[in-house]
Symmetry: C2
Subunit: 388 residues, 2 copies
């Protein structure tokens, strides 16, 4: 079987964009083709498009061919759109990887795009609500901040995690995104400001939450052999792990401070890649809320269960620590345009692994992990990238 | 690389169902597990779920894990939802096939489900409109019947195809579905009744159009080796072809009577399967409108370009002819619950290739073709199944 590599990557500025869904696609597409002049739109024979709710936010229910047409791509091997809520982009990466390693496509673009910020604020809220289970959850108020507040409360009670430790995740990620010109936020934030920000769902405050963000991102995949003419030092896609143990929070886990599905997904991805958690130099993880990143340190094996709070407090997830987590700024600092997120992680890690991440470069990064989560522990998607 | 086979299949009754989205999933899941008692929900480690607009029709924006939970499946290898409008099911089949042949999953369920008929009729229409390009097409009235009417007019003008030939497709498919207890319609229809039915978009009349249908269908995939303990005579997935040459009708083709993207997709699928059009014994093709099936005969290579009208008139696409097209009744007779359609085709062909199709059995069927189309020629998805 062939091996899949990333040969080009690009993204839009993330943020509150005065741009349509199509505009975002065009911008990310141009950035991606600009990143590798050996590849033209006509060379792309596969497109896997990731988007969560364009049928609601852009009233476009068939976005994959619109994306292809907008970029001048005419896929003749593979065309698909995937939706797995916040994890959609990682799922697109996996479908692209499978098409390459089976030889079913030659050059596959994986693109994610989401227009979240529309004029009607109530509609933004409704769209996000459709991401939970309407019949059993969101209709009763169990929307994302409430879900993750339950997780934070359980983690604090069981492991003594503090609100200040949560806040330190926000400070770290907002500090990282000061070095990322594509990030939604570049102003940084102090611990005091996070701690004093508006309460959203106790103990989560405004700065414990990622923002609503517009954006798009894309990468181009090829086989190792095909890549030889296209790029000198491609980034390898080494492993994937995915799980979905339950859909509704009542069934997801008995203990809301643990995400066993993430643990399994990570183990599978490490195994496929042939590495261990200690080999990971840099990671982009799903910090939709600060508590998420803390639980993820634990389930990804960066620290023992229950020690996520001290892991951030001791600086182990920052530059100079054990693994640099969310150098892009993560969902909290860079922003979280749902369908684009998993692809934007791949873009950041492509830059990091090739030493092109500028002031936020993680020194000598060789192995990288990306994690997206759909719902609270509902689906977990882990990808491992690396230099070989 | 491994070879992928189908080891189980099931579907709901298609029609105007007094059932929710979740009910349809449960019903198709039960039918599928009932079809092969060697497989239990706990054995399934991958789910690819196909659905077009549950976020609009069922207000469920994250349907894949809901489907898994409803059936008691806990995927630990692969979880995804795909959307490619009317072609979604075939795309799910392809992702499932890739997961099996790469060894990334052991047993993958590909399920499609769609709840189309909701109480508010205007909303059904709006949902369908989101499947075209809102900015350039549907907002100006270029909805599906209008698009396919343009195709029919062009085909009639260029090749002399008649309204009666179109009507014969409806008669054939409604006759076929009389033998299909899962079909939306079982009453049959006469040529006179089709010809005298209400004009929808000239020359297409009511019976030239497929209905709005609720339904769900599923298959389970395994590798050839894994299947040995599960089933004696599995059905092989032999080839796929997919294209998307343009999104908007203005760009799809210069001549609306031709669908060059389908021709290319079919050629790729035949090549991967190592067969020719003449080898196909039975086909489920995308007869969303009668004209579609006529153009498909041509682009799939069952007859020469322009001869689709006489192909149906001479009975060549019926029992006793050259290839039995849409023995299930097709979209016109069986119904077209968008996300479920490509999977329901696989279910029908699984039955046909194993000699289990009862009164609608195509004798000695060895090679089968399935085709779904998203938009009018926007995306084409061809799959080849067979006995080896």
């Amino acid at each position: 079987m062939k091996r899949a590599v990333i040969v080009a990557a690009g993204m839009t500025k993330f943020g509150e964009r005065e741009a349509t869904f199509r505009d975002l696609i065009a911008e990310a597409g141009k950035a991606t083709f600009d990143s590798n002049k050996h590849i033209l739109p006509k060379d792309i024979d596969g497109l896997v498009f990731s988007s969560v709710y364009p049928e609601r936010s852009a009233f476009q229910g068939h976005p994959a061919p619109i994306a292809a047409e907008t970029m001048g791509i005419k896929p003749t091997s593979l065309i698909a759109r995937v939706e797995c809520q916040c994890g959609s982009g990682t799922v697109a990466m996996r479908m692209g990887q499978m098409a390459i390693i089976t030889g079913q496509a030659d050059l596959v673009m994986c693109m994610g795009a989401e227009k979240v910020l529309i004029p009607v604020h109530e509609e933004i809220f409704l769209n996000a609500m459709a991401g939970g289970d309407r019949e059993w959850e969101t209709c009763f108020g169990l929307v994302p901040p409430a879900m993750f507040a339950l997780c934070a409360q359980a983690h604090m009670q069981k492991y003594g995690t503090t609100e200040e430790q949560l806040a330190r995740v926000a400070v770290k990620n907002h500090t990282h995104s000061m070095n990322n010109p594509n990030a939604h936020f570049q102003k940084g934030v102090t611990l005091e400001k996070v701690m004093n920000s508006k309460l959203i769902a106790s103990p989560l405050k405004l700065f414990d939450c990622c923002p609503n963000t517009d954006g798009a991102a894309a990468v181009i995949l090829a086989s190792e052999e095909r890549a030889k003419d296209l790029i000198k030092d491609p980034v390898y896609i080494l492993g994937f792990g995915q799980t979905s143990l339950a859909a509704t929070l009542a069934n997801v886990e008995k203990d809301w401070s643990s995400w066993p599905g993430l643990k399994i997904a990570a183990e599978h991805a490490y195994k496929m890649a042939g590495i261990t958690p200690g080999d990971v130099d840099v990671a982009e993880v799903h910090d939709c809320f600060t508590i998420s990143e803390i639980v993820e340190y634990e389930e990804l094996g960066f620290c023992k269960k229950g020690e996520g709070g001290s892991f951030i407090e001791e600086g182990k997830s920052d530059y100079g620590g054990e693994v640099v987590v969310n150098p892009s700024g993560g969902r909290i600092g860079m922003g979280h345009p749902f369908g684009a997120t998993g692809i934007a992680q791949a873009v950041e890690l492509f830059w990091q692994l090739r030493g092109k991440a500028g002031p936020r470069q993680v020194k000598d990064a060789r192995f990288a992990l990306a994690h997206t989560m759909s719902g609270m522990g509902v689906e977990n998607h882990v990808a491992i990238y690396g230099r070989v």
